[in-house]
């Protein structure tokens, strides 16, 4: 990830700041407004998981290049309780809070690449990428 910028996420106001930051970066990189909205939606969802489950963490947004392809990569990480069953968390409708799902399946549908690493008691890192078309 080149030239990543980061937003600390500790409260729900930071959810809004993080997604606005992601949208601004996406527009700077020349993404369509549609894809900028998609990126902002994914960040909103992932940042909310931090606030709800881990209390604090961070969102890193950076540009990425693969040959001639350019894209935007978002890393959302925390040192919270971690997800006990990642496979289940990736299924629609799963939630440990009993209210809302983690939104992870939706985020995976929004983005081109999705990677999650979670360790119980150590935290969760979700990395998502959107390529410019």
């Amino acid at each position: 990830m080149e030239s990543a910028t980061h937003v600390r996420v500790e409260s729900e106001v930071d959810i809004v700041l993080a997604r606005q930051h992601g949208r601004a970066m996406a527009q700077e990189l020349g993404f369509t407004t549609g894809n900028a909205t998609i990126i902002a939606t994914a960040i909103s969802e992932l940042a909310r998981n931090i606030v709800q489950y881990a209390k604090h963490g961070e969102v890193l947004v950076g540009r990425i290049e693969n040959g001639s392809r350019k894209g935007l990569v978002v890393m959302v990480r925390d040192q919270g309780p971690g997800i006990s069953d990642v496979e289940r968390a990736m299924q629609d409708g799963f939630s440990t809070s009993g209210r809302l799902g983690l939104g992870l399946p939706g985020v995976r549908r929004l983005m081109d690449e999705f990677d999650i690493h979670s360790e119980q008691g150590r935290g969760t890192t979700v990395t998502v990428t959107k390529w410019k078309v």
Binding site: V16, G34, I38, S44, E45, P105, R109
Partner: protein, 122 residues
């Protein structure tokens, strides 16, 4: 940031002016639910034109607003979902099934007044 709520006849119009935090959305839900009773409203319009993102939380809260106000006898119409937001919601898999949506405030108002029928006041 508080969402201004306008009372027009027996309709409440909530115009979201900017990006909202989760708490702002929950406050809007509670205020609308309370005002439906206080003003004996039978229609509620939530204008989301200025909402930057509709994620699972905001979609869920709008759905709750529609269901709760319906239980109190008022129909909620969500207006102003922007094309990019609709695109992202569809990709995400978020729906507002069973909830009335209209293009914009004008369409929302005309839908509610049609439902009331001619001569019913407004």
């Amino acid at each position: 940031m508080a969402v201004p709520i306008l009372k027009q006849g027996n309709t409440l119009i909530a115009s979201i002016q900017s990006a909202l935090t989760d708490t702002d959305l929950l406050v809007l839900r509670d205020v609308l639910l309370e005002q439906v009773g206080r003003y004996r409203s039978i229609g509620v319009i939530v204008d989301v034109t200025a909402l930057d993102v509709m994620d699972s939380f905001s979609t869920r809260t709008l759905r709750d607003i529609a269901h709760m106000t319906r239980l109190r006898g008022a129909e909620t119409v969500i207006v102003g979902i922007q094309p990019d937001v609709a695109f992202a919601m569809a990709q995400f898999g978020l729906t507002l099934e069973g909830i009335c949506t209209r293009l914009d405030l004008e369409e929302g108002l005309s839908y509610l007044s049609d439902r009331r029928g001619p001569g019913s006041g407004g």
